[in-house]
């Protein structure tokens, strides 16, 4: 069956001369839409109406489009990190925790230093977020390497710890006194991301995401570091023969992913909420994995994949408001797409792969 999909040597027909991974992705998305249609039918709504409300909710007006772009920003940033990690076969699931810690550090910088110049202010808070995410991810990498604990488990457990750390901070030293909600005080105006289009909600975060994706693509394909990561992911043995340091490569790729996730957390704080709120990172880490897989682990392809899920989310939220079909549909679509992409990719791997 789909074990045959994506074996370039077998594709002869010029009609099918598109890169196999593109077919795979198209197939996965089509099957995702098919499953979705069944689910929409199961709640007694009309799939075509539902899809139209999703499309209108995502692209119906400039406001909706800007909302979707903002939504996609953290997914793209975090998805780039995940795709690089997965390329190196370092299964870093810690996106959510790294976003949370990044947001916390950025907020701390913003609330501690009243910097007047907006560029320096935003830059330093963003650096704070990046540093926080990097440290959190490196800590996970250190436990994984130093103590031989599986990186999936370390990053998963650290997600829970990070989210609880943020909650603890919001209920104590960084929380707004007298607010009924677990939230930090508002950031001052110079710490808020400028708008890309005046009069809309679209902030400049999406530019960071685009630049990061392009840079990551260059690093992965045009530098010796990217080469080392790819070799490391293909075969640990080959990487060792080539003299690459396992520790440096693992920590490096995790720290890079952590930094990107931390930046995403900082951007959420400075661009969307203008404060730290409890649970702001919920689900982002897993979305990022779905994005990276849909992008077939190509950093540039994370841009369209992230946009797809960003717009899908704003669209399904509109669908829930208008025709009452629950917006958790989007998580189902993500899960189905991930499983299908995985199944299709799995058949490609050499037998008994590492």
């Amino acid at each position: 069956m789909s074990a045959d999909i994506g074996q370039p040597a077998r594709i002869r027909s010029p009609l099918l001369a598109v890169h196999p991974s593109t077919w795979r992705t198209i197939f996965a998305m089509a099957a995702g839409l098919g499953v979705t249609a069944l689910l929409i039918l199961s709640v007694g709504a009309d799939p075509l109406t539902a899809y139209r409300t999703i499309a209108l909710g995502a692209f119906g007006s400039l406001e909706r489009v800007t909302y979707g772009l903002n939504r996609a920003t953290p997914y793209i940033l975090c998805g780039i990190g995940v795709s690089l990690c997965f390329r190196a076969k370092v299964i870093n699931i810690g996106g959510e925790g790294q976003i949370a810690i990044g947001g916390l550090c950025a907020t701390w910088v913003a609330l501690t230093w009243p910097i007047a110049n907006p560029a320096i202010a935003i830059g330093s808070a963003a650096l704070g977020g990046i540093a926080g995410g990097m440290i959190w991810a490196s800590l996970a990498g250190g436990i994984h390497l130093g103590r031989g604990v599986n990186e999936v488990l370390v990053t998963l457990l650290m997600n829970f710890i990070a989210v609880l750390l943020v909650a603890e901070a919001l209920h104590s030293w960084i929380g707004e006194i007298g607010a009924g909600f677990p939230q930090s005080p508002m950031l001052t105006a110079n710490y808020r991301l400028p708008k890309l289009i005046a009069g809309t909600d679209l902030h400049i975060g999406i530019l960071f995401a685009l630049v990061a994706a392009i840079l990551a693509n260059i690093v992965l394909w045009c530098t010796s570091l990217g080469f080392a990561w790819r070799i490391f992911g293909e075969s640990r043995m080959a990487a060792r023969y080539a003299g690459f340091s396992r520790g440096r490569l693992t920590i490096g790729v995790m720290a890079l992913a952590g930094g990107l996730a931390g930046l995403a957390g900082a951007i959420e704080v400075m661009g969307i909420h203008y404060r730290l709120i409890e649970g702001f990172s919920k689900g982002f880490g897993f979305n990022a994995i779905a994005v990276a897989l849909l992008a077939a682990l190509k950093p540039w392809a994370v841009i369209p994949a992230g946009l797809f899920f960003g717009f899908l989310e704003t669209g399904t939220q509109a669908m829930q408001r208008q025709i009452g079909v629950p917006s958790s549909l989007v998580i189902v679509i993500q899960g189905v797409t991930m499983l299908l992409v995985l199944a299709a990719m799995g058949g490609l791997r050499p037998k008994g792969g590492s």
């Binding site: 031989g148 629950p326 958790s328 799995g346 590492s354």
Partner: protein
């Protein structure tokens, strides 16, 4: 014995019970060579099955059966993707978790609640006091006046141990996880063993979800497993993929979570969020302390391709 101590021990057992069932299911899957990262989703599916089954039919027996079925369905999904299509097992498990999180939330609102979040209340299972033993002071009320699934969770360790260590089927199952080619050479089909083990393990893990709904909370809410599947995963490693060790690890994690009772009783100035971190911190610390000496099933995570095909 001090009533605070009794409360603490009772809470430890209560919290450890769903972890136990999830971990026993996970042992079966991992011993056969399939990482059980999907435990969280299997458990959540089981919780949903228990709540929906009981709510829609009014029968807890059907609720329990449906939790087993829902867990097994997730297991089937994981098995198809990770065993049949030889996808990365870790990421497959995570994808299954996401799918279940979305699907249960969607079905809860869409199908049961007709567009709103429904209020589901299920009857809780009554305790089954063991005649004679339950009359023993202290221990009786602690250990022998439990609801049925608690007995099942703790006693299941014995047949599971026997199955893994002494039975021929258990030997083949472990062979599929240690050296599938060797299992194949004696006429077994490792891919089939892995598929069956993943589904069977998922069914047991689903029961862990039923414990949450039918013995503890009495309702279903989105993501109500809240990381218990991942703690069970850690418990399996700490327990070296053996039932009794894993049971001990589950009890230790349960005790860590039950610490909040001590904090209340003693009035310690520790924030509740720090206390909530304890099980995760402890799991991380224990894994880090013992990490180097852990010997996993040798072929876990390695996709097995039938040597006669492809």
């Amino acid at each position: 014995m001090d009533s605070a101590v009794l409360d603490f021990l009772a809470a430890t057992i209560r919290i450890a019970t769903p972890l136990m069932l999830a971990a026993m299911g996970g042992i079966i899957s991992e011993r056969a060579g399939v990482f059980a990262v999907g435990l969280e989703g299997m458990m959540l599916a089981g919780a949903f099955g228990a709540a929906a089954g009981t709510f829609l039919t009014g029968s807890t027996a059907i609720g329990i059966a449906s939790s087993i079925g829902c867990g097994a369905l997730v297991g089937l999904t994981v098995a198809v993707v990770a065993v049949r299509f030889r996808a990365d097992q870790m990421v497959t498990g995570l994808a299954a978790n996401a799918l279940v999180a979305g699907l249960t939330s969607f079905l809860l609102r869409g199908v049961i609640g007709h567009g709103r979040t429904p209020v589901i209340h299920t009857a809780l299972l009554d305790p089954w006091p063991v005649p004679g033993l339950s009359a023993i002071p202290v221990i009786g009320s602690l250990l022998f006046q439990q609801p049925p699934l608690t007995y099942l969770a703790f006693t299941a360790t014995v047949p599971l141990y026997w199955f893994l260590v002494n039975s021929h089927a258990g030997l083949l199952l472990r062979a599929a996880g240690e050296n599938p080619a060797a299992a194949y050479s004696v006429g077994a089909n490792p891919a089939k063993i892995r598929t069956v083990a993943t589904i069977a393990g998922a069914a047991i893990t689903g029961l862990g979800g039923a414990v949450l709904v039918l013995q503890q909370v009495g309702t279903f809410s989105d993501g109500m497993t809240g990381g218990r599947g991942f703690l069970a995963l850690a418990a399996i490693i700490v327990g070296r993929w053996m039932p009794f060790g894993t049971m001990a690890a589950c009890l230790v994690f349960g005790a860590a979570e039950a610490m909040h009772l001590w904090v209340q009783v003693l009035g310690l100035p520790v924030s509740s969020y720090i206390v909530q971190m304890l099980p995760y911190l402890l799991a991380l610390a224990v894994l880090a302390a013992w990490g180097r000496s852990v010997v996993m099933p040798a072929a876990i995570g390695v996709a097995y391709g039938d040597p006669d095909r492809s």
